[in-house]
Every structure is written in structure tokens, then in C-alpha cells.
């Protein structure tokens, strides 16, 4: 039993060392040229910004009281918004992926609307809903709760724009995983909530993580809806993007330094999301099955006959 298993891993690592033979790709050269232009279009501006960084003053610039306030506020609100996205988005994704009802397509389009809506419009919508004279805000105001232009408003604005990212990535993963494992769980006697907790969520955990990371990134970068709905009050509603925008007028060096901080955060976020996607148990199983199929015959014959005590 141990022998074929170790030889299998040995084979796999050898395959990793050997370079895959070059296959005919069939990519026209001009495609390559345009692709390079596109890549430069993304990379050069970043370089342009990095060149402008005042490295001597970098630390003092990003640790000034207003910068720290903005950074801290951004982190707090983005985390809160991400949590809210998970709490609201997981049930939404499950309902969209697992049930069928009249008007589902319309509902999905509406839920994903913030993805394509200009954030300012989102902010206006939120203002006329939760604002002091808004749809719900009036009753809330009577109850002594004022949301607009508070830190809560920042979180709501961020959640509004970030929610579709989580719903979208989780719904896709739920559809990919399918319902077969859930059906097996149910026939083994697991109630729907048990199936959700012990089968569905673990299977889509990587997508949930990457969706949450994307939501966090979107929340962190939120500008338009926040400015419209929450305003720009230092320490209360002035998040990092707002701070950068304001500083650009008075202290470009600070704006550039803080921008670099956001770029670094973004790079970390993207790589974490990518890693999470690769760690999917299903994908791992599929990969392993591919390997197993390759040397299945050998493994089956090397192992003691099925049924014999091993």
C-alpha cells in the first residue's frame, strides 16, 4: 500500500520538475503585441505613481493623525461591511442557486445592479432610503436612529456596492458543486441545516473566502456612495479613498503615499483570493482523481485483492 502511494507522489514531483513540452499555441503575433500594450497600460501608471513617492517622508506621511484616522476607519468599516456581506450574501446566493421561483432572473439582475451602477447613484439611493427624510430613515429618525453621515452609513454604502461580488462568486461555486453531495447527505439522515453546515458550506468555502476578500477590496476602495451618503468627516466617515482625494489638493505627496498603501493592500487581497480559489476541495479531488486514473491499473493490481483484509 505504501509503495504505490509513494511512487505516485515521486512521479508527480518529477512531472513538476520536468518542463512541459512546448505545444503549438496558434496565437498570432499581433495578438501578443496588443496584449503587451494592454498590460503596459495597467502597469505603467502604477510605476508612474511609485516613481512619485516621496520615500524620505513616506512613513511620516502615512502615519499622520488624519492618515491613521482614515486608514483605521477604512479597515474597520470594510471589515464590518465584509461581515455584513457574508451574513446577507450567503443566504442570497443559496436561494439564487438552489431554488426556482417566478421572477428569479429579474431578482438576480436587481441584486447584481450595484455592480454596474455608478456608486454616486448608489449613494443617492441610500440617502433617500436611510436619510433623515428617506423612505425608512423617517421612521428610524423617530426612533432616535440617524444613519446618514455616520460611520454606520459608511458601512452600509460599502456593503451596498460590495454585496454583488460575494453573491456572484458564491452562486457560481454552488452551481459548480451541484446538489449530488447534498442529496447523499440528506439520504444519510442529515436535516437541511446540517447539510448546509457540514457539506455545502465546506465545499464552497474557497469561493466564500475569495468572494469575501473581493467584497473587502471593493469596500476598501468605495468612494462615490460613501461621499454621497456618509459625507467626509475625519475619523467618522472619511475613509482612505476620501482622504486621498482631499489630500491630493493640499499635499500630493501624502496622497501618493496613501495610494501606494492601497495598491499594496489590493495586491495582497488579489493573491489571497487566488490562493483560496486554488484550495477548493473539489478541485483538489478532481486533480487527484486525474492522477489516480493515470496509474489506476498499477495501483489496483499492486494493492491486495479488494475484500482481503489490508
Amino acid at each position: 500500500m505504501a509503495a504505490p502511494a509513494s511512487s505516485r507522489t515521486a512521479q508527480r514531483s518529477r512531472a513538476r520538475v520536468l518542463r512541459a513540452p512546448a505545444l503549438y499555441g496558434g496565437v498570432p503575433r499581433w495578438i501578443l503585441a496588443v496584449a503587451i500594450v494592454g498590460a503596459l497600460f495597467v502597469v505603467v501608471p502604477l510605476a508612474g505613481m511609485v516613481v512619485r513617492v516621496n520615500w524620505g517622508q513616506f512613513l511620516p506621511l502615512i502615519t499622520s493623525p488624519s492618515s491613521l484616522d482614515a486608514l483605521w476607519l477604512s479597515l474597520r468599516t470594510s471589515l464590518a461591511a465584509t461581515a455584513l456581506c457574508v451574513v446577507l450574501g450567503v443566504p442570497m446566493a443559496i436561494v439564487l442557486a438552489r431554488t426556482r421561483f417566478w421572477g428569479q432572473k429579474v431578482l438576480r439582475s436587481l441584486v447584481l445592479l450595484p455592480l454596474v451602477l455608478p456608486p454616486v447613484v448608489g449613494g443617492i439611493a441610500l440617502l433617500y432610503t436611510f436619510g433623515r427624510r428617506g423612505l425608512l430613515g423617517q421612521s428610524l429618525s423617530v426612533a432616535g436612529i440617524d444613519i446618514a453621515f455616520s460611520t454606520t452609513a459608511v458601512v452600509l454604502a460599502q456593503t451596498f456596492v460590495a454585496l454583488p461580488f460575494l453573491v456572484l462568486s458564491l452562486e457560481g461555486a454552488l452551481r459548480t458543486v451541484g446538489t449530488r453531495y447534498e442529496a447523499v447527505g440528506a439520504t444519510l439522515g442529515a436535516a437541511p441545516t446540517t447539510v448546509l453546515r457540514r457539506i455545502t458550506l465546506p465545499l464552497v468555502l474557497p469561493a466564500l473566502l475569495s468572494g469575501a476578500v473581493l467584497s473587502f477590496a471593493r469596500a476598501l476602495g468605495e468612494f462615490g456612495a460613501t461621499l454621497t451618503f456618509a459625507g467626509s468627516l475625519q475619523g467618522v466617515t472619511r475613509t482612505l479613498p476620501l482622504e486621498i482625494y482631499l489630500q491630493r489638493e493640499t499635499d500630493p505627496d501624502a496622497a501618493v503615499a496613501l495610494s501606494l498603501v492601497l495598491v499594496v493592500v489590493a495586491i495582497v487581497v488579489v493573491s489571497v483570493a487566488h490562493q483560496a480559489g486554488e484550495a477548493s476541495p473539489l478541485r483538489r479531488a478532481r486533480r487527484a482523481r486525474r492522477d489516480a486514473r493515470r496509474d489506476a491499473r498499477r495501483a489496483e493490481t499492486a494493492e491486495p485483492p479488494e475484500g482481503a483484509p489490508s
Binding site: 447527505g185 439520504t187 446540517t194 465546506p202 482481503a308 489490508s310
Partner: protein, 352 residues
């Protein structure tokens, strides 16, 4: 009766009634699309029938009237485990956690469930694999653990959906042996299109075609004495039908008079059949001399189909399995007139 079932699914043309005795293993045979998987889905609660009624051990599974309304138990409250072609082990759990899933879901403690899982893993000879993840198991190993997982849930009824179909031919016999051991005295419904499964595992068979039951009865009775061409095909037998003649022989619709062994002489003019294996049928290209004791069925070669080490020669009424050398020696080709023959001792005659 342990299970009484009647269900109809209009969209799939499915309309089946079925009963299972306590501890009985019944094989459901039939081609793809016969409705076998629909039957399992309706029983397991994964598919809601348009109408029907099912009772398992006195508990009502569903009772749906013609208007589609009525009580219907969700799958997790039925006590019916389903084992599919693929093992479908939960990829994020170890083998032990997979097997313990059923007991855990039914409210057993963590330690008790783990202990039960160990027991069932030992029962399927997979104790050494307890800590492996599904990705580290071969197809046969995974299927063994899936059997343990299905049984650890202590089902009142076990459903097996072609459990051997996705396995290597080298592994299937061992799993079949193991299943025979663990299925003894367990109420089980096994869907298969392999009659070997039916012979080794089942007390009774139900033959389905086009969403309906076309034949049912004890395994040997149904498969040794098929009553319709469809079951005969499954059992790989030639079926010649007709009526009893004056001297106990079978008279086919075409007027052929054929003899075969029979327990009771065929009653004159009653519907009867003869079953004979293609391997026992010989083929000649000229009419054989009469009185050789050979039962002769003349015909034309319709096609020649290589099947492993034999070639199946099909004619209008009967098929013969010949060695490739024989086919070559006779220079058989579609359209040729041939005379197929079999010995009366190697064929079975029975009333229909």
C-alpha cells in the same frame, strides 16, 4: 411487507408498483431510460412523484393524490440510504468522518459515531483507510467506504444504483462478494443492468422497460424462463414462442416444430416458449439430415457481431455464438440462408 410502493411520474412516463419483504434483496433490471433511477429517486425522496403512495415498515413515505397534493416525507426523515454508481464521498472529510456522517446526523455523539464508523470500516475491510481523504482512495476503495457510510446510517431500506458500474472490472467481483455478505437479511433494492448482480445478490428480480414493470419474480424463475423478448435479452437467452403441439412439442407461429426438455409436458394449444443459450446453437449452411435429434430453425443471417472471443450470428428467430474460426470456415455473411440447430437436452421448454 416491509415496503409497499406505487408511484407515477408523468413527465418520465413512469408508473410502477412494487413490494419488498423484510430482509429481501430485489434487483431491478432494465436498459438505460427504463425508469430505474427514477424509482430510486422517488423512493429516496429526491424526486417528488405526481401521485402515488409508499409505506416503509408501517411509516408513510408519501401519499399523493391525483391532484399532486398530500403528505410527503423529506429524504432525511425516511431512513433510506442511497448508494450511487460513484461513491460521492464528501471530499473535505476523511473516510472515517464520511462513515460517521450518518450516525452524527441522527444525533449520535461524536465518540459513539466514530466508534460505529470504525466498526463499519472494518466490516468492509477498509479499517486501514480510515484517515485518508477521498482524493487518496482508488475507485474500489472509495466505493467500499461508501457502502460502509450507507450502512452506518442504519437505513430501514438500502438503495443501490449500479454500485459496480463505475468500477474497474478487476475490482467489481470483490465488491460484489462484500455486498453479498453485508446485504444478507437487509431490505435492499439494487438497480443494475448486469444479470450477474441479480444472480449473486438478489432473491427476486423486477424487470423494467419504458417506465413500467414488465416482469417480476424469483431471480432464477424470471431469468431462466423469460416470458418476453426483453427479459430474454437481459438474460442473454434465445426465446422461441408458440403453442404446445399434439406430442408435447412447441409449434412456433411460423409452423416449426421444436422439442426441448420440460418439467411438465406442454399442454396442447397452450402458449409456451423455449429458451436456449446462443452458445448451444450451431449453424449450418446446408439443411441438416433429418433425424439427427437436432432442433432446426432455418433463417437468414441478419448480422455478425464480434463479442470478445465469440461472434454472435443473428437470424430472424434465433442467435448463435460461434468461434471466429467457425464463422470463417462457414464463410458467413449477412443475407446468407442458414440452418440453426440446438439439441433438445440443452433447451428448456415451459408454458407462458
Amino acid at each position: 411487507m416491509s415496503l409497499q410502493f406505487a408511484g407515477r411520474v408523468g413527465a418520465r412516463g413512469f408508473d410502477v408498483e412494487l413490494e419488498l419483504a423484510e430482509g429481501e434483496t430485489v434487483a431491478v433490471l432494465g436498459p438505460n431510460g427504463a425508469g430505474k433511477s427514477t424509482l430510486l429517486g422517488v423512493l429516496a425522496g429526491l424526486l417528488r412523484p405526481d401521485s402515488g403512495r409508499a409505506v416503509l415498515n408501517g411509516e408513510r413515505l408519501f401519499d399523493i393524490a391525483g391532484n399532486g397534493r398530500g403528505p410527503w416525507l423529506p429524504p432525511h426523515r425516511r431512513g433510506i440510504s442511497l448508494l450511487a454508481q460513484e461513491a460521492l464521498l464528501f471530499p473535505h472529510l476523511t473516510a472515517r468522518e464520511n462513515v460517521a456522517f450518518g450516525p452524527r446526523s441522527r444525533g449520535r455523539g461524536k465518540a459513539a459515531s466514530a466508534a460505529l464508523a470504525e466498526e463499519w470500516l472494518a466490516e468492509v475491510d477498509a479499517a486501514a483507510l480510515a484517515d485518508r481523504r477521498p482524493a487518496e482512495l482508488s475507485g474500489g476503495q472509495a466505493q467500499r467506504i461508501a457502502v460502509a457510510r450507507a450502512l452506518a446510517a442504519e437505513p430501514k431500506l438500502l438503495l443501490l444504483d449500479e454500485p459496480m458500474a463505475a468500477l474497474d472490472v478487476a475490482v467489481a467481483p470483490a465488491l460484489r462478494r462484500m455486498l453479498r455478505r453485508v446485504l444478507a437479511n437487509r431490505t435492499t433494492l439494487i438497480v443494475t443492468h448486469d444479470i450477474l448482480d441479480a444472480f449473486t445478490l438478489a432473491d427476486r428480480v423486477v424487470v423494467m422497460d419504458g417506465g413500467r414493470v414488465v416482469d417480476a419474480g424469483p431471480t432464477r424463475a424470471v431469468l431462466d424462463r423469460p416470458t418476453n423478448p426483453f427479459t430474454a435479452g437481459l438474460a442473454a437467452l434465445n426465446l422461441l414462442t408458440g403453442r404446445g403441439g399434439a406430442a408435447g412439442e412447441l409449434v412456433t407461429e411460423g409452423g416449426l416444430r421444436l422439442r426441448a426438455t420440460s418439467e411438465t409436458p406442454l399442454a396442447p394449444d397452450a402458449r409456451a416458449a423455449i429458451a436456449v443459450r446462443p452458445a448451444f446453437v450451431s449453424v449450418r449452411v446446408a439443411p441438416p439430415a433429418s433425424g439427427a435429434g437436432l432442433q432446426v430453425v432455418p433463417g437468414t443471417v441478419l448480422d455478425l457481431e464480434p463479442r470478445g472471443d465469440v461472434v454472435r450470428v443473428r437470424t430472424e428467430l434465433i442467435a448463435a455464438d460461434l468461434a471466429p474460426g467457425e464463422v470463417a470456415a462457414l464463410d458467413l455473411a449477412p443475407g446468407m440462408a442458414v440452418w440453426c440447430g440446438f439439441a433438445a437436452e440443452q433447451a428448456l421448454a415451459y408454458p407462458l
